[in-house]
Subunit: 195 residues, 2 copies
DNA sequence: CTGTCTTAATTGAATGTTCATTCGGGAGCA
DNA sequence: TGCTCCCGAATGAACATTCAATTAAGACAG
C-alpha cells in the first residue's frame, strides 16, 4: 500500500496534474496514459475504470493530507501552538500543491462526492478529535467540532486560493494575522471578553 | 437583460439543476434540452456553444448574488449590523439554492474560471468596498480587503456546506455564534484587547 | 380582415468526433 | 506452462453541433 508500483503512482500523479489544467472532464484516459508514459490499456490493469481512478486518487491524496497534518503536531506544544501549526500545515500543503487543492475542490463539489460520503473519513475524525480537545479544555468556544473543523479548514483553503490567484503578495505577517483572526474568533477567551 | 426570454431562462435553470445532480460533465445538451422542454437545436439559437451556456449561467447567477447582497444592506444600520446581514444573506442564498453553491464551486475550480478571470467582477468590487469601509472606519483589522472578503465569503460557504451535508442540525443560535466568531476575529476591538 | 411576404423561432434527425473501454497478443519470469 | 505486466489498435457508445425543413409572428398593402 505504501510503496505503490511506479507505474500506478505515475498514473495517479499524471491524472492530478491534468485535472488541474483540463478539468475533470477534458482529461481523456489517452492523455493520462501519454503523460504517465504508459499505454492506455495499462491504466486498466491498475484501475477498474476512469471513475475508480478518480476515487483512488482522492483517497491517495487524502492519505497524504493526513500525513501532513500528523507531522505538523508536536505533542509537547501548547494547544494554541498546535492550532497554528495545523493551520499552517494545511495552508502550506495547498499552496505548494495547487493541483491538489484544485482536485479536492472539484471532487467534493461533484456527484462523485455523494458516493464517497458513506466512507468514514480518517481526516475528518482526526480534525474532529483535535477540536473536541480544544473545547473540552476550555480553550475553544463550545461549538460543534464539525463546524469548527470546517471553519478552520475552509479558512486555510480560502487563503490558499487568494495566494493562488496571485494578485496579492502574501507576506508571512499577513498569514500570521489571518490565523490570529481565526484563533481570536474561535477562542473562548475572546468570547468572555467581548460579552 | 432583465426579462430574458422564457425559453432562455428555462435552459439556464435546467442546466443549473442538472449540473448539481450529474456534474458539469455528465450533463449532455440533449438532457438540458429535454428538461427545458425544447429541442436540442433550440439551445443553439440562444447560446453559441455549451461553453458559452456555462459562462452565461455563471454571470446570470452572479448577477443574482449581487442582487441578494444589495438587498441585505440597510443604509441606516450600523456597520456591524450590515456585516451580519451580509453574512446571513450569503448563507441563506446558498442554503436555499444548493445548486447555485454547487455550480459556483465547480465553476471556480475548473479551467473555465481561468477564462472568466479577466472580466472584472462587480461582486468582488462590492465586497471590496464594504470591507474597505470597515477598515477605514477603524472597525476591522487592517488586512487587505480582498483577504477579509474572501474569509467572510468562504466562511459563509463553509457553513452552508455543513448545512448541505445535513448530518448536523444548525439552529439559529449556531449561526449567530459562527458569524460572531467571524466578527470577533476580524474586529479591531478584539485585536486591541488581545494584544 | 385577408392574403402575401419577411424574418425569427423551433425542430429533431444526421454528422462527425471524441473517448472510455476491450482484447488479442507479446515480453519477461518462475 | 502459467502468470503478471504491458501494449496500442479496434470497437462502439455518447455527445456537441449542424442544418434543411417547419411553424409562428409580425408587417404592410389592398
Amino acid at each position: 500500500m505504501e510503496n505503490l508500483a511506479e507505474k500506478k503512482k505515475a498514473i495517479l500523479e499524471s491524472t492530478l496534474a491534468l485535472v488541474k489544467v483540463n478539468g475533470f472532464h477534458g482529461t481523456p484516459m489517452s492523455m493520462v496514459a501519454k503523460k504517465a508514459g504508459v499505454a492506455a490499456g495499462t491504466i486498466y490493469h491498475y484501475f477498474e475504470s476512469k471513475d475508480s481512478l478518480i476515487f483512488e486518487l482522492y483517497s491517495y491524496l487524502k492519505q497524504q493530507a493526513i500525513q501532513v497534518v500528523r507531522e505538523s503536531q508536536k505533542p509537547d506544544a501548547t494547544y494554541q501552538e498546535r492550532f497554528f501549526a495545523l493551520w499552517f500545515a494545511f495552508y502550506t500543503y495547498y499552496t505548494s500543491n495547487p493541483s491538489v487543492l484544485c482536485f479536492f475542490e472539484q471532487f467534493v463539489n461533484s456527484p462523485y462526492a455523494e458516493k464517497a460520503k458513506s466512507i468514514p473519513s480518517e481526516l475528518d475524525e482526526l480534525l474532529h478529535a483535535f477540536f473536541e480537545e480544544g473545547i473540552n479544555s476550555g480553550q475553544l468556544r463550545p461549538v460543534a467540532p464539525q463546524i469548527l473543523s470546517m471553519l478552520a479548514h475552509g479558512n486555510a483553503i480560502s487563503l490558499a486560493k487568494v495566494y493562488g490567484i496571485g494578485k496579492l503578495n502574501l507576506a508571512t505577517a499577513d498569514l500570521e494575522l489571518v490565523v490570529q483572526i481565526l484563533w481570536d474568533g474561535m477562542s473562548q477567551k475572546t468570547s468572555e471578553i467581548n460579552s
